[in-house]
Symmetry: C2
Subunit: 180 residues, 2 copies
Amino acid sequence: MKIIKWKVISSELALTANIFRYVKVKSQSPTNGQIGNFDVVQCMNWVNVIGITKDQKIILIKQYRHGTEEVTVEIPGGAANFNEDPKLGAIRELREETGYTSTNWKHLGRVDANPAFMNNQCDTYLALDCEKTHEQEFDPFEEIEVYLKDVKDLPGMVASGEITHSIVIAALYLYSISSK
Amino acid sequence: MKIIKWKVISSELALTANIFRYVKVKSQSPTNGQIGNFDVVQCMNWVNVIGITKDQKIILIKQYRHGTEEVTVEIPGGAANFNEDPKLGAIRELREETGYTSTNWKHLGRVDANPAFMNNQCDTYLALDCEKTHEQEFDPFEEIEVYLKDVKDLPGMVASGEITHSIVIAALYLYSISSK
């Protein structure tokens, strides 16, 4: 079976929330003509940063997350501003959330948040030779603890369930294959 | 800064869509007492399957995805039924989406879809010695192409952007660290 794109017949903005828009999409299969209604959640694009210090430690953050009502271990990141170069968003999020900066940046990859029903992407950047040069600057309602771990501890932290955020784990995979 | 859980003050169901519920949550920081309003998207839990044949090929699928309006390369998976053992969901999704089955299953891990604003988890299972024993059985609106790739090709498929689904890439990371 050869898969080709469906034809979007109509798209209706059903709701605008704080951080997403809910769009009802009606689309038609080019294969058999069937028409279906699909939920689409539209979000800003996101950026993630693998920040590594000169002594090969990764910069991790702890935050309370309202989706799961848990404190999670993640890497710095957040929503890119509208029309912002994602690299500038990555530089900003690393500095604001952790106080670390770098002059040695590399793009590791772009992934889809969840193509099944979300429209947005997440860019992951690698920042090498990171140094603590600033104080943290929090957005409203942000509370972030910063700490360092040896990069060699990362696989164990994922295997044990200490790191659970799928998009963070995807970023770690991009990092692991880039460093081979 | 020590991060502890916020206190949920109220939780209001704002909208029920086909595949998610939108809940408006009001929570209070235990650190400084500030109160904020947060978007939470509630979804069913998901399951993903790394299906490997006896000759070390992984079972991949192509689907049209309504969120990004693109044809994507993924692994078999989907939403678990309500209160379903996720392993049974994984066995079902592998068989229905691909026609492959296995008698050699292992749980690779559980990740959060996106703890920032989603409440659900995704379980990833490894199915070894997979064999094509059934015909595909599609859910309404499903159209799925199945094909096999050498497992050693996976890092290159992620690096090149051929595989872009963050939760699929997270599953591949769980697989890569489990097989070391």
